[in-house]
Symmetry: C2
Subunit: 351 residues, 2 copies
């Protein structure tokens, strides 16, 4: 497949997933398109400090929706229409002009949705040292979603043994770990999810004490009351909207709400405004938004803890893997209707 | 006016303000009625551990609205229709079968809206030791509202010198102190209030850096943007509703929202639901409801601090005093349309 380019350098095909235009509402597959470019397998002269990588796994994360609109007030700038979208990925270094990375290294960090990427902003990359777990876990269990669960639960929820913990989107990339961490902490944990299959997974595979399918409930507040007759100490909110409003009505005195996934929901699926905030005062509830990147000093500790728990068989991690870059847009879009079962990853290439 | 009762004991008139029925929406004067009862000036036999008090000052507080409806999930039970309403008051002990209180003592705590009250639950009372400030300040500056401001600002807002602080209902019983405490802490402070007179008071008497009349603003978010071009670090929320929603849009990264007065607003004036909670994640904001009574261990420290600040002339306290128990219902109802200028107190009797 290699061709010889103008400068006599080997050129190969580089398929890309490009954002066609800024997105309104829920993202659709047609908001993205494929482009077949070419790339050299050598870094262009002048690009000192860069690396050229072959992308192996790409992560589908709801926050990416926030980068598909023209909004500059967030913690991360929007994608540029006409250019490949970006996300967390696991990749192999195939050329490097950066002394921190060598050919053959595996890295995790922001990369392009394409076969090969030249990465100039290498500060945000991490060289993967832990190679005896599945490589794709570095965008899940050991990556941003895992760290989000770890930070959110430990730093934001102030958990205590015996606490009643509710997790929404509980079988998702973050929720499945929050529930398992809460169980390991000695909490009573109930999760909500959107299908019978996911509910079974929560109860039988992920060790939740109980779980329910929110789509089968006509009254979410009543469903929560049924599962938490004593009320909720900790709500780990991955969805916002109606579920948040219902959870507020069921909080216990001095309860904590960790607000995690609402960005993704904003202007997407459930934009119901919130009517029950008065319970924050009634029950003296703390509600806190957070982003994992504010806690990067805890990352080494997180990595060690999670790897150990995984190797000891104390936590499991469920991935939903699709095959090929071509499957990426549908996999990403599927997040917003809950098609994925577990962490959604796209397998782009073998090593 | 004294009469001789059946048991040969002196009986006097005891005017009372009675709740007629549970209240729907904003409270009206007609939700209460006057009743002219009689009381002995001696405690009935068998009531060991009680005190009989002459009520001097009664406090009008928005939270009392919450006790006017049939809702048992709050931190305090509802009033009983047909019985005198209760609130914080300053009173003088005229008889006692309780070894902790002597005739002639001044007390502050929950008492009835009536001329004389027999108080059995004396654990909640505090004997007034500080007598060289106006007695009525014990339900304001040195009472629940003052303590609410102190706890809310110091314990919930995590204030730092130079922080941009916004206070709503800023000339009210709590807000006026939050603003002054924030100024003493080295913050930049802007308040909102509902009249030109109150805005002037905030700027010229209470030392706020700036203030605005929210009733003159068509776009609250724009008004806040104008006053806080850099954004808000701390929002001390006394009102909820539209102002909270507008403030959320203007929070800075790692901002804090202390949620204080929303209970009173619930089902009263501004029940607008909240649409901008996604900013909690975007800006990593902490939003926390609180109640002063969770922090009673800090009360002695609060009392000492506030008395000192007051005596040193570093804080002032503005009261809106009405005359006579008869003025009570109108004074209370007036809170919900912002008629009061400063802390609303009813002067029932002289010592």
């Amino acid at each position: 497949m290699a061709a010889t380019g103008e400068a006599g350098r080997d050129m190969v095909r580089n398929k890309q997933v490009v954002l066609k235009h800024f997105v309104v509402g829920a993202p659709k597959e047609t908001d993205m398109e494929f482009r077949e470019g070419k790339t050299s397998l050598k870094i262009l002269k002048g690009a000192e400090g860069a690396i050229l990588v072959k992308n192996l796994y790409l992560s589908c994360d709801p926050y990416m929706r926030g980068r598909m609109r023209e909004y500059y007030e967030s913690y991360i700038p929007p994608f540029q229409p006409g250019k490949p979208i970006e996300g967390f990925g696991v990749a192999k270094v195939i050329d490097s002009t950066n002394s921190n990375f060598s050919v053959g290294d595996y890295i995790v960090g922001l990369t392009g949705w394409e076969e090969y990427s030249t990465i100039i902003m290498t500060e945000q990359l991490r060289k993967i040292e832990i190679l005896d777990v599945p490589l794709s876990y570095h965008v899940g269990l050991l990556g941003m979603p895992g760290f989000t669960a770890y930070v959110g639960f430990n730093e934001i929820c102030s958990p205590k043994k015996g606490d009643y913990v509710f997790v929404s989107a509980a079988s998702g990339a973050v929720g499945q770990l929050v529930g398992q961490l809460a169980k390991l902490h000695g909490c009573y944990v109930v999760g909500s999810a959107g299908s019978t299959q996911k509910v079974e997974l929560l109860k039988n595979k992920l060790g939740f004490d109980d779980a329910f399918n929110y789509k089968e409930e006509t009254d979410l507040a009543a469903a929560l009351k049924r599962h938490f007759p004593e009320g909720i100490d900790i709500y780990f909110d991955n969805v916002g909207g109606s579920m948040l409003d219902a959870a507020l009505l069921n909080m216990r005195v001095h309860g904590r709400v960790a607000v995690c996934g609402m960005v993704s929901q904003h202007a997407v699926s459930d934009t119901k405004s919130i009517s029950n905030l008065y319970t924050l005062v009634m029950k003296r509830v703390r509600m806190q938004g957070f982003i994992q990147s504010d806690y990067l000093h805890l990352f080494p500790q997180f990595l060690q803890t999670m790897v150990n728990l995984y190797k000891e068989g104390k936590i499991v991690y469920i991935e939903d893997m699709t095959e090929g870059l071509e499957s990426g847009p549908a996999a990403f879009v599927g997040l917003f209707s809950g098609k994925n079962v577990g962490k959604q990853v796209v397998h782009v290439a073998d090593e």
